[in-house]
């Protein structure tokens, strides 16, 4: 009985949590302009979205979201992995200082990060646009890469680097052939995480995108929604985004679960 009540509570919460998303997904299969009107099953909205039958601004926004996400993920993975190796080899006060500073972007609310970077770009006199958005995204994604790579470095036997040198590898070769392969799972997780955070971001992008008409999906949806009446094609788009995020999360979770059972199987 107790168990039944508990399960009922959990599933009630889950139904409420997922109801809005489910409604959007359901109404992505009908043509009605206004959400809530069911005018019969149709795949036209998906068709419009995929065949480019939507405004070119939306297409550009989708493209920007993906390209900014990939660039930000690449840069923050490189910067963060190198930094993690450095921080791992640091000691004392310097290490504490950089770790603290690394925590700041994760603790800061998005709006503060956005405003502060906006003021920075204004103060320096940079025209804001694509590049400033990428820089801003690298700034708040890299700390997560550092956090993903750090545990892998801690798990690594420090002698493996020396062993590589001992066997004739130059420091560069040792890095490529021994250190990077060992921290690669952390780098991949960090990359996926950075990409997810970047395509998910709204506030920081809004403050750093400038006024040259650059939009990502988030800022496009925001502008669209403020005009009232959401473009119907956003419904299938949101459904697709939800499925993609779901997929990425499953991949991440499977990756982290994979390491342990593998060993047991081999023995």
């Amino acid at each position: 009985m107790k168990k039944f009540l508990a399960q009922a509570y959990i599933w009630l919460l889950l139904i409420i949590l997922y109801a809005p998303i489910v409604i959007i997904a359901i109404f992505s299969f009908t043509e009605a302009k206004v959400l809530g009107n069911w005018t019969g099953f149709s795949l036209r909205l998906y068709g419009n979205l995929l065949s480019g039958g939507v405004s070119s601004a939306l297409v550009r926004a989708i493209f920007n979201t993906l390209s900014i996400g990939i660039l930000a993920a690449i840069f923050s993975t490189i910067l963060g992995s190198i930094a993690a190796i450095g921080i791992f080899n640091m000691k004392g006060r310097a290490r504490k200082a950089i770790t603290l500073l690394n925590d700041v972007p994760m603790l800061n609310p998005d709006i503060i990060t956005g405003v502060s970077l906006f003021i920075l770009f204004v103060a320096v006199g940079v025209t804001q646009g694509y590049i400033t958005v990428v820089l801003a995204h690298v700034a708040f994604c890299t700390p997560y890469v550092v956090l993903s790579v750090m545990p892998k470095l801690r798990q690594m036997n420090p002698n493996t680097y020396e062993a590589a040198l001992d066997l004739g590898a130059t420091p560069g070769q040792a890095l490529r052939k021994v250190i990077i392969p060992q921290i690669r799972p952390g780098m991949v997780s960090g990359f996926i995480l950075a990409f997810t955070l970047s395509i998910d971001d709204f506030a920081v992008t809004l403050f750093t995108k400038g006024n040259q008409g650059l939009d990502t999906l988030s800022t496009y949806i925001y502008a669209d929604a403020r005009k009232g009446g959401l473009t119907p094609e956003l419904r299938p788009l949101m459904t697709i985004i939800f499925l993609v995020v779901l997929l990425l999360l499953i991949v991440i979770n499977l990756r982290s679960a994979k390491g342990k059972p593998k060993k047991i199987q081999r023995i």
Partner: protein, 461 residues
């Protein structure tokens, strides 16, 4: 196997960390094909020396000559040496085969030659069937075989082994010792081996280098080191031993435990204090109550698998450890004798504590980084003096705060009727103390010295 041709010559090698000397003026020649072991307790500098030879760290002073060329500043990847690490340090992302082929692949050797060599060494370490295995799925002993294969496949001039068997259980360790010894004979490569296990060192090596606190204590064959330790540290560290205070009466005549004995040592002078070492198996024990050199009562008797290990309290009050194939149960009266050539006489490293000091006032002197009360002196304040404190004059306190300075029990030697302790002070000075009290290694103590036990002598310089 070991020829006469020299392969490594180490001269005045010194390494400091943050101003602390961890290796002090290390000198050693190693012959081609020799099996050399650095033996000592943790922190004695043995691993530092190995890492200097491997090139992971660079010395502050000194040279490492490999076949006549100084390699002290050559990076590790350009040295024709290979290392077997304590925790194996296998590359977890590569399988057994690729781990073993790592060095050869870097040399850009043709694939078929790599293949031939890798298979040959894997066969040698009996890991042929494991080529495709993930290294993390292997047992400790198997991982160690791969680590050895990975090193020797490069045909190094010298193989460095850093406590390679320390992580294995006893049975596995003994098997691997035999295999290592065989491998050394078969390959003809020079081995430099680091261990804290004296048994392992004596079993494997051609030459043992006993180290302590960054300094070499003794270099010799296992037999030399065991039978003729040069000081009480080596005697205590290698095997079981009774270490006793004695006096060299004249050449070939020494007194200890209240009796005089014939011995074979000479050249110490007359009536000189010495340390005497007698191995437990070299004391002959019987039930005779007369006709022996000395007598006592057995206080404990434990069977150790092959021999019985007994503690005997002599009539003069000294405690001795004795090993014999026959049991003498506790409480029985026994007689004992020792043969002249089983008595090892060693020069005492010191007969009392000596420190550099300075007079502060008529009744105070500073040494060991602190001021001490002394019996009134007529020397002017500021005079540099030599301070002498007898081993028995140092008083150790349970409560650290009760002492004038604090220290840690660093090393313990039982001398039959008292303990001889080495105390490391909080400022890294060493202090030697004789006491009847029982302390454990690592105990934190307060150090007090009675003013009457502090003797000061004006420094002649």
């Amino acid at each position: 196997m070991a020829g006469t041709e020299e392969i490594i010559r180490i001269e005045h090698l010194t390494k400091r960390y943050d101003g602390k000397t961890v290796l002090d003026d290390f000198n050693l020649n190693i012959r081609k094909g020799e099996f050399v072991t650095f033996l000592g307790p943790s922190g004695c500098g043995k691993t530092t020396t190995l890492r200097l030879i491997a090139g992971f760290i660079t010395p502050d002073e000194g040279r490492i000559l490999l076949e006549g060329k100084d390699i002290a500043t050559v990076p590790p990847y350009e040295r024709p040496l290979n290392t077997v690490f304590q925790r194996y340090a296998l590359f977890p992302h590569l399988d057994v085969y690729d781990n073993s082929a790592f060095g050869l692949k870097l040399q850009k050797m043709p694939t078929d030659e790599i293949d031939r060599k890798v298979r040959k060494v894997l066969k040698m370490v009996a890991m042929t069937d494991y080529e495709d295995r993930d290294v993390e799925s292997l047992s400790g002993g198997q991982q160690q075989r791969v680590a050895i294969a990975r090193a020797i496949v490069n045909e190094p001039k010298v193989l460095l082994l850093d406590e390679p068997l320390a992580a294995l259980d006893r049975k596995m360790r003994e098997d691997m010792q035999l295999e290592l010894k065989e491998m050394h004979q078969k390959l003809g490569i020079t081995f430099i081996y680091v261990t804290h296990d004296q048994e392992e060192a004596l079993t494997l090596s051609d030459t043992v280098v006993v180290m302590r606190e960054g300094r070499i204590q003794q270099i010799g064959t296992p037999r030399d080191i065991y039978n003729e330790p040069v000081n009480s540290f080596v005697a205590d560290f290698i095997g079981e031993s009774n270490i006793l205070n004695g006096t060299m009466i004249r050449d070939k005549r020494v007194s200890f435990i209240g009796h005089e004995f014939d011995c074979v040592d000479k050249g110490f002078g007359e009536n000189v204090p010495v340390d005497v070492v007698v191995r437990p198996e070299d004391i002959y024990i019987s039930r005779k109550t007369e006709g022996e050199q000395f007598y006592g009562k057995v206080t404990s008797c434990i069977f150790k698998g092959v021999v019985y290990e007994m503690l005997v309290q002599t009539d003069e009050g000294y405690e001795l450890e004795i090993q014999d194939y026959n049991a003498f149960e506790a409480g029985s009266s026994v007689g004992m004798h020792v043969h002249a050539n089983d008595i090892q006489v060693m020069k005492k490293e010191r007969v009392c504590n000596t420190f550099e000091g300075e007079v502060v006032s008529a009744d105070r002197v500073s040494f060991l980084g602190e001021e001490w009360e002394i019996a009134p002196t007529s020397l002017e304040p500021g005079t540099k003096v030599k301070v002498e404190v007898p081993f028995g004059g140092v008083d150790l306190q349970d409560n650290r705060e009760d002492g004038t300075i604090e220290g840690e029990v660093y090393f313990i030697l039982y001398k039959g009727d008292r303990y001889h302790l080495t105390i490391k002070t909080s400022e890294d000075y060493f202090l030697y103390v004789d006491t009847q009290d029982i302390w454990d290694k690592g105990d934190l103590v307060g150090v007090k010295i009675d003013p009457k036990d502090i003797k000061i002598v004006k420094d002649e310089d």
